[in-house]
Symmetry: C2
Subunit: 675 residues, 2 copies
Amino acid sequence: MNDAKKRRILLGVITLGAALAMILSRGSGTGVTPSAAAVPANSLDQIMQDRGLTPDEAEAALKTFVPPGKHDEFMMITSGGHRGSILLYGIPSMRLLKEIPVYAPDTWQGWGQGDTDSAEVLKNGSFGKGLPVQTWGDLHHPQISLTNGKYDGEWVIATDKSAGRVAIISLRDFKTKNIFKIPNANSDHHGVFTDNSEYIIVSTFFPTPFSEPNGYAPIEQYQTKYRGTVSFLRFDRTKGEIVVPESFQVELPPYFQDLSIAGRGPSDGMFFINSMNTEMATGGDMEGKPPMEIGASQREMDYLHVLDWKKAVEVAKDASKTKVVNGIKVISLPTVIAENLMYFVPESKSPHGVDLVPGGEYVIVSGKLDPHVSAYSVEKIKKAIADKNFEGKDPFGIPILKYDACLEAHIQTGLGPLHSVFDNQGNGYTSHFLDSTVVKWTIGPPYNPPDKAWKVVDKVSVHYNIGHLQAAGSNTRKPWGRYLVALNKWSVDRFPNMGPLHPQNLQLIDISGPKMKLLSDTPTIGEPHNSMIIPIEILQPWAVYPEVGFDPLKMKHSEYATLQGEESIKRDGTTVTVNGTVVRSHFKPDIVRVKEGDKVVFHWTNVETAEDATHGFGLHGYNVNLSIDPGATQSAEFIATKAGVYPYYCTEFCSALHMEVTGWLLVEPKKDVKG
Amino acid sequence: MNDAKKRRILLGVITLGAALAMILSRGSGTGVTPSAAAVPANSLDQIMQDRGLTPDEAEAALKTFVPPGKHDEFMMITSGGHRGSILLYGIPSMRLLKEIPVYAPDTWQGWGQGDTDSAEVLKNGSFGKGLPVQTWGDLHHPQISLTNGKYDGEWVIATDKSAGRVAIISLRDFKTKNIFKIPNANSDHHGVFTDNSEYIIVSTFFPTPFSEPNGYAPIEQYQTKYRGTVSFLRFDRTKGEIVVPESFQVELPPYFQDLSIAGRGPSDGMFFINSMNTEMATGGDMEGKPPMEIGASQREMDYLHVLDWKKAVEVAKDASKTKVVNGIKVISLPTVIAENLMYFVPESKSPHGVDLVPGGEYVIVSGKLDPHVSAYSVEKIKKAIADKNFEGKDPFGIPILKYDACLEAHIQTGLGPLHSVFDNQGNGYTSHFLDSTVVKWTIGPPYNPPDKAWKVVDKVSVHYNIGHLQAAGSNTRKPWGRYLVALNKWSVDRFPNMGPLHPQNLQLIDISGPKMKLLSDTPTIGEPHNSMIIPIEILQPWAVYPEVGFDPLKMKHSEYATLQGEESIKRDGTTVTVNGTVVRSHFKPDIVRVKEGDKVVFHWTNVETAEDATHGFGLHGYNVNLSIDPGATQSAEFIATKAGVYPYYCTEFCSALHMEVTGWLLVEPKKDVKG
């Protein structure tokens, strides 16, 4: 941007011409120019000495610093956990670039704070009749949409462990467009896109008796009446919506289904889901039974679910093979078996991660109570299925493939292995919760020759209790490598004491060389559960909305758009509708007169076209704050329940005369109250 | 912390003895030790070259980097604006260390998300009958409590421009303890502590007709019936509460009262408030009147309010001189005049800041439409009052001191001067919104000799549209200097494009030398309006609560504390009360059986004593998530409105067996529904 243009934007739409012209003519010559002194050659050494930096630390400083005005190379799109949001971090600076509100309100961004659009999104995404509108979610696994198995930078989806739903966020404006409450799913820990984003596939974590009347059955009927589901949600990538008639579910046994991944390359059409609690323990620690931590850890092996999802799509098209349960087609467990849609592969008990190497040849699983990483060969799994090489069936009749027939490698890596990610040089990286380490190992052929395959080659300590880890592009056909981030659950002493609630700790690790190198610690807000790392250059966001009077939710012209000169206040019975504009530096109208008991509807259009010229509409008393980006039209409505004088004002510091961007909602008392 | 202790904490309370013992005995020997390679001497140059860093940029990198595991020196306690929170940044790293929820919910921290304590705090802090509970606020000016005019690190208060209230946050656990809704104040842009935190003093921004029936009067009666107030709220620093019977208000003319500061040293007992809109414009841009930006900018001068607050305290003790309005004592405007409590000093129109040099000798004001910083001498103001050196009275009868009799210096600094802060070397720094600069100038005697006083000595560009700025300890008798942060309202092109809503930009500036040096840019969430910077070593927080079964809100033993072995589920009519515990790695109880329509009350005690061992209680369907820090007891209650099976689980990743920390709320259908 050239300086003249920048200056025009910063100064904005000058409506107070006289005052500013007067000021500008005075000039501001102080006789001092900004400093730009050259640094003596030895000053870096001096600073290192003054600040007690070791050479390693100085190297990390220079590797992570993004100078003022320059941009990060990568963006890490991270879940906020039970903060219900998505957090964006820049890499290598690890600066928190933005938070996108999803399941929980963000009053700064006007999300869920009196804005009619977000209120509708949150309501539609809730459990429904008889239960409150959800104002939180446990946002766990953001996934970037894929084209040909690579990030296309268009959409992000994110599941909610607390509620069984999926949110769809546009990367054009970094805003949530809709939340789809999945029927027959009370929870979903994880969801993924297929290779071309045809489907969003989401498994339940907690099984429930969703087919029973009232969705209720005693916990004693857990094995007979509780079931999990995996949902195949047809994604309309033009609209950013789920197409329910083209979606379906596959009924699953009442294990806790967990993470999952869709195949590619040799595993194209396959879908893998981890499970735990194949013991089907239900707890009951005040009823004479062991707690879940004991009950769900009895068996040595749980089951990796291997689905033929492309076949399931065909089965779901046959109405005789599905039933509609709570509005969505379901393929029942007997049909799953009859149609050979699913097989189990034994996996070390209670695993966290199921990951797929870039080409799709190996599935990587780690049982958290087993100090090994297990690599399954997709070809071996396919052959075992073809050969019916079973070791038995589970209690529901699902065939279990022989473990040895599927396993490719078993690498001893350390205590508490959880998740694995991959770089662009044939290496895997596994997080270890108990050891607090990241261990680097080599993938088998064709990534490395057999004699160099499945070997541990490096290990780095992290701080502390790492859960997920992520590397740039790891979940795709084309990883970029370079950086890895450890998402550590505990920070203990890594940051200043700020009371009993500690931040979690994101650690940036340089993986460009043969040895990993820990670069920096970053405290977090929320629970940054998992992430995806994408080069920033792939993103194509709008810096301002494409037209004035734009509906951010529907991403098209707003029916309530108001241009300057078109402002109005209209009364229709007891409803007062305000079609207003906001610009630097006033609201129009700036006085709105209503009567106690009236319904008041505000439609505000920010008529600015300059980048960054966001205005807010903060209204006293009625709990409303809108954030209105340049070009956007945003609405609020409420009943004026109480007489009085309610100022409103711009909540975004927009201009030199920002403090004057004010107005009055005057609510006249009812006559009978007055008289 | 030694390694053995750290390991014990990380592994936690081992309840699954057998499984873990088995694992630990296997060992994790991978034959690889963590890397700690030395850096070649020239590698810093190589990294600079590879990353294109200039010597200036490399210097900034080394000055700002806080190595992994090391701590920042200072903490910046920053307002989150209409995010309704307080943000904590580390200096020099500028990492976001924490967000403290205040006026708006934070579902991660369980604030306002089904927790009975925070629900009560938010409700008590709302407008009251007839208006909704506020779930946002425009948190503008955090202030750290003072002892002898210096930060004591005990409390933070923060006002709300949108609602006229003050929140009180403890720096023992970094949590909000209470929100006091100030009567007769619809808004408060700013509030400060007196020198020993005896009072919190808060002015209204928007005047309202608070004495009228229904709090309503037509805007046409603005001059006669609308009034501002400045509240003197007696602070009980032991309890962290406002003592209403010892509090009072001073009625003010219907100007927009803005920032303020309490005197010290020669200005001890004085209180200074800026004002704007002494024109008493009300807008009306759809009623044939000019918008506020024009109407409120007509006069060349507004009024700096100078109050004798210690005298006002005495006047307020005399019942004959106050009236009680909406529950609080008010000194009316005629009494203010009769008792000589307030004088006006002309100030350049529409100023933003009123700041006091460390020793309290000069008051610094900048009219944003005047390219000068004005320094008023406290001694001259006192003399003008004593001499009755008036130039007239305002329309309400307040005497106006002669401008020239009070002014000490008038420094030309640039366009759009707003706020000033001070270092420990006799310098002031003023932000300039229109120029986007920070200008450094010298304070007058005794800080500098007369020939070196009131001179501009340096200027640095900031990016862009700076509002407040802050330097370590600037608002106290003892600034620390070293670092200055520019809180810039716009970032335009400084960060990657992330849609139409841009972050704001915090810029760290090194002020330790004669020339300012811009070190780094940091994007923000929220609107980080103003801040205070304190050395971290002054803070004395709890790392865990002092006992198991602690009530975080009341900061004492909880009446609902439950220890292990004391857990219970009790039914009393249609109320089911659960007194439970949570520990690594289970809830007890983990099955709760109720009937549709029952009231369900959960009291959970986290029985952990290890630092960082926070547990969550996330309940499906009923919109509840608690965050339960080590030792804390937290509660939730709701009606089980809908039959079904509702899992609950720990939302903080607490341990290796975290995924197993689950339970079931079973809501049995009513018999009539079932049969």
